[in-house]
Amino acid sequence: MTLDIRDLRLDYALPGGLSVRALDGVDLRIDDDEIVGLVGESGCGKSTLAYSILRVLPENADIVEGRILYRNRDLIGLSEGRMRNIRWSKISMVFQSSMNAFSPVHRIVDQLAAVHMAHTGSDKRAALKVAEKALTRMGIPASRTWSYPHEFSGGMRQRAAIALALLLDPEILIADEPTTALDVVIQDRILQIIQDWQRESGRSVIFVSHDMAVVAEICDRIAVMYAGLVVELADKVDLLKEPRHPYTQALLDCVPNVKGRGSRLQSLSGSPPDLRQRHEGCLFRPRCAKAFADCATVKPDLFEVGDRHPARCLLYRPEAS
């Protein structure tokens, strides 16, 4: 496996000595040659999890516990210098606003080349060649690789950002809502680019999104997150066909489908828990249609049900316990 996240707990410090528990014991393994989706609603911790892998967290974030093993090395304890050797060349990232991260006064191809030179020590000529090739691979015409960022549309800039993320041939690509601000036709193209790269390279992608349909489209496995926890994890088909956690079930019933049959959508009442406070029992209980007495007091584990499809819900607790 490429990446093994174990029992990751992370707090954000707030003014006044308070803190928010953004990740509360996340276990997740990413294998070679797969796209894993992290899906959930705002505030569930999906982006925090992604950022913590690269250790590009805000200043007030504090990893309280856990390990992030990359090829059996714990990234959490790594010195910043060592981390810099991994960041981008081994694990890189593209996020929603990547397309706005280019310097407006330099040509895009020069910016890619500069990154290549800094990481590999290549000379300018070779770096420009690599950069140009990376851009054309994203479907940007060779005639336009020498443009400035403002001469590109948003979709082209986002594709250039993906070219930048893949420039050093990383082993893991983290994509955090890479298509969220884009129109559907461009979104589709970008999903295809990421998928094609993954299929050809056999590398791993962690794809973070709030959009169940996008995740269903592109991922091999899906991890559903709620209130700082992975609540269900399964192969895409199993998860969509037979969602186990009541939250996943509810979430799927909220999503309109363009091929839908017109049945009324469901919605979730209430709001996610206030993570400034400690909670007893299951965090989803107040909104859960299937909650029973134990849910108020017992914190559910991610119960393995025998077929690589665990769910964090007492409904799947083994009988003996």
Partner: protein, 335 residues
């Protein structure tokens, strides 16, 4: 629905909205002709009482501008807008004012559309206070009932709160209450759920469906999301570069689109569907980004079926089958 369900509430005829963009100081010193941005070009449509018509298009297609022109928040450059037979586009500002209460708008961002210093009570009561002279008790009752009507129940728990104390979904409910308190004939909802989480968005969509059924209000629902459009609307209009290129029943447009642009859009929509594989329609994005049609159909650079005619003439919106129209020579040309 109300007894007169089905009668036309809003009718737009040949509506255009052009802008003269600000040019940089250098460009204006150098002179020359400024480009005109044709945000809305020759749009004609009708919305019936109790109907939800979705306006779907990509960013920059002109859908928000059309919504603003239909509610006279912006005057059209040309064309007429009739509300129940009265031509509002010709009215003087003073006269127009008396019609404004009949048309309301719900905006995308409930974090910006509500005044942070107004309690929920004041925000929802304000339109009533401006338009009707009510006793305090009646005002209170109307506001409280409206809040209950949009699912903010019990109303007492929300009346004296400020927007910051509410979640995004609750704020959007307040914005809807504020839009509906004057019992308008026509509401434009501009991407009202695109900033909300799905579990909250679906509740807002259901609320709008319920309100439509109860009050018979006509809605123009602006969205970029075809799945949402399919769920909420009776009819869907597809907009591309300022023009409506296809309009028809929601189910038909999403299942059997006839305009090549609608076909392209639908082929790109991701769906939770494990049985069928989507066929992608290939389109040249780079050309599309740059080329602006000087003459002819604005979709000609991306279209897989271009005829000679498409390069010279703009196709008009013609009925291809009952209640289903498209602006495409594929359906009107002798080919």
């Amino acid at each position: 629905m109300t007894p007169e369900a089905g009668s036309t509430v809003v009718r737009a005829v040949g509506v255009r909205k052009h802008f003269r963009p600000n040019r940089g100081i250098v460009a204006s010193l150098l002179g020359g002709k400024a480009d005109i941005v044709r945000a809305v070009e020759d749009v004609s449509l009708e919305i019936r009482r109790g109907e939800i018509l979705s306006l779907v298009g990509e960013s920059g297609s002109g859908k928000t501008t059309l919504g603003e022109v239909l509610t006279l928040l912006q005057r059209p450059t040309a064309g007429n807008i009739f509300l129940d037979g009265t031509d509002l586009s010709r009215l003087k500002p003073g006269k127009l004012r008396s019609h404004r209460r009949r048309m309301q708008v719900v905006f995308q961002d409930p974090y910006q559309s509500l005044d942070p210093r107004m309690t929920i009570y004041r925000a929802v009561a304000e339109p009533l206070q401006v338009n009707e002279h009510l006793q305090k008790e009646e005002l209170y009752t109307r506001v409280a009932n409206m809040l209950e009507g949009v699912g903010l129940s019990p109303a007492e728990a929300f009346l004296y709160k400020y927007p910051r104390e509410l979640s995004g979904g609750q704020r959007q409910r307040v914005a809807i209450a504020r839009a509906l308190i004057l019992d308008p004939d026509f509401v434009v909802a501009d991407e009202p759920v695109s900033m909300l989480d799905v579990s909250v968005a679906s509740g807002i969509l259901n609320l709008m469906l319920d309100l439509r059924a109860r009050l018979g209000t006509a809605f123009l629902f602006i969205t970029h999301d075809l799945a949402v459009a399919r769920y909420i609307s009776d009819r869907i209009a597809i907009m591309y570069r300022g023009r409506i290129v296809e309009i028809g029943p929601a189910v038909v447009v999403t299942q059997h689109p006839i305009h090549p642009y609608t076909q392209l859009l639908l082929s790109a929509v991701p769906a939770i569907d494990l049985t069928t594989r989507r066929e992608r329609v290939v389109s040249d994005l780079e050309t599309a980004d740059r080329e602006h049609a000087v003459r002819g159909c604005s979709f000609q650079f991306r279209c897989p079926f271009v005829y000679d005619q498409c390069r010279g003439t703009v196709p008009s919106l013609l009925e291809v089958e009952p209640a289903h129209s498209a602006a495409c020579f594929k359906y009107s040309a002798p080919a």
